[in-house]
């Protein structure tokens, strides 16, 4: 069972499975606040769905510390897609009285 916030984070990873993401960027793209985002990331890492590693940069040349980068694992991609599908199956279609959202 995954929450809506976990769902947003997972979807962001699944949209571009090869892309490495970092905390601030994920907060901006998903809209999930820091208080929820980091426990979600920790849980996904512990489950083996995400792999976390330090950025490979020359800290002296770049003049900034290394970020922690999160990347979807093969297990995470497989199980994540299944979880997302299950999530939408559980939620079901929107009732007729819910107005349609205009996509940007």
């Amino acid at each position: 069972m995954i929450t809506a916030a976990t769902m947003k984070v997972l979807t962001e990873f699944l949209n571009t499975p090869q892309r490495e993401q970092y905390g601030f960027g994920l907060m901006r793209t998903t809209g999930v606040k820091a208080g929820s985002l980091y426990p979600i990331l920790d849980r996904l890492v512990a489950a083996g769905w995400l792999h976390v590693e330090d950025e490979s940069i020359d800290v002296v040349a770049e003049r900034r510390p290394k970020r922690k980068l999160y990347r979807l694992t093969a297990l995470g991609e497989r199980e994540g897609r299944r979880a997302v599908r299950q999530f939408f199956e559980n939620v079901g279609p929107a009732p007729h009285w819910v107005p349609r959202l205009e996509r940007a």
Binding site: F24, M27, S36, Y38, R64, K68
Partner: protein
Amino acid sequence: MPLGQAVVLGFAALMLFCIKKAGEVAIQNEYASWAPALARLWVSVAGFVCPSRRDQWRADVLYIQKQGGSGLYEAGCHLTGAFVLVVRAVPVGLRSRLRGSWTKKAPTGTFVMVDENVRVMLANKLMMINDMGVGMDEAELDYIVKGQDGLRFVEVKSSTSLPPGSPE
């Protein structure tokens, strides 16, 4: 209204207008200088509140600033989020501590629900019994076997050379 009061009021109004204009100029024109500094300050405070994330957040905000952003919005969100993270960590820490003390005192044979699984308390260890009727502790040193005569506790260390899962 006497002339003196009118002059004072007019002067005060002019001063307020000047201060407002100066504030606007400072906020708009000097944004590039004060916003990144404020963002770094906020991230430092957030890191002080939640030290385990300090380096990660500092690296993130410096990366955003290197890309040309101020990072002010993200830093503000992380400042409030740091307090939430600390508050959320308290019950987790308490739960693990209480669970640790509880397993030392719980009577043998107590069945408990943990993470939607039924576990049994045996010899001061919480063990989950699987469908095969075999349970193992977290360190995988001891295990229990569900037989016809009930649950039996087997200590791997003292059960000679038999591998786990072979009680006889």
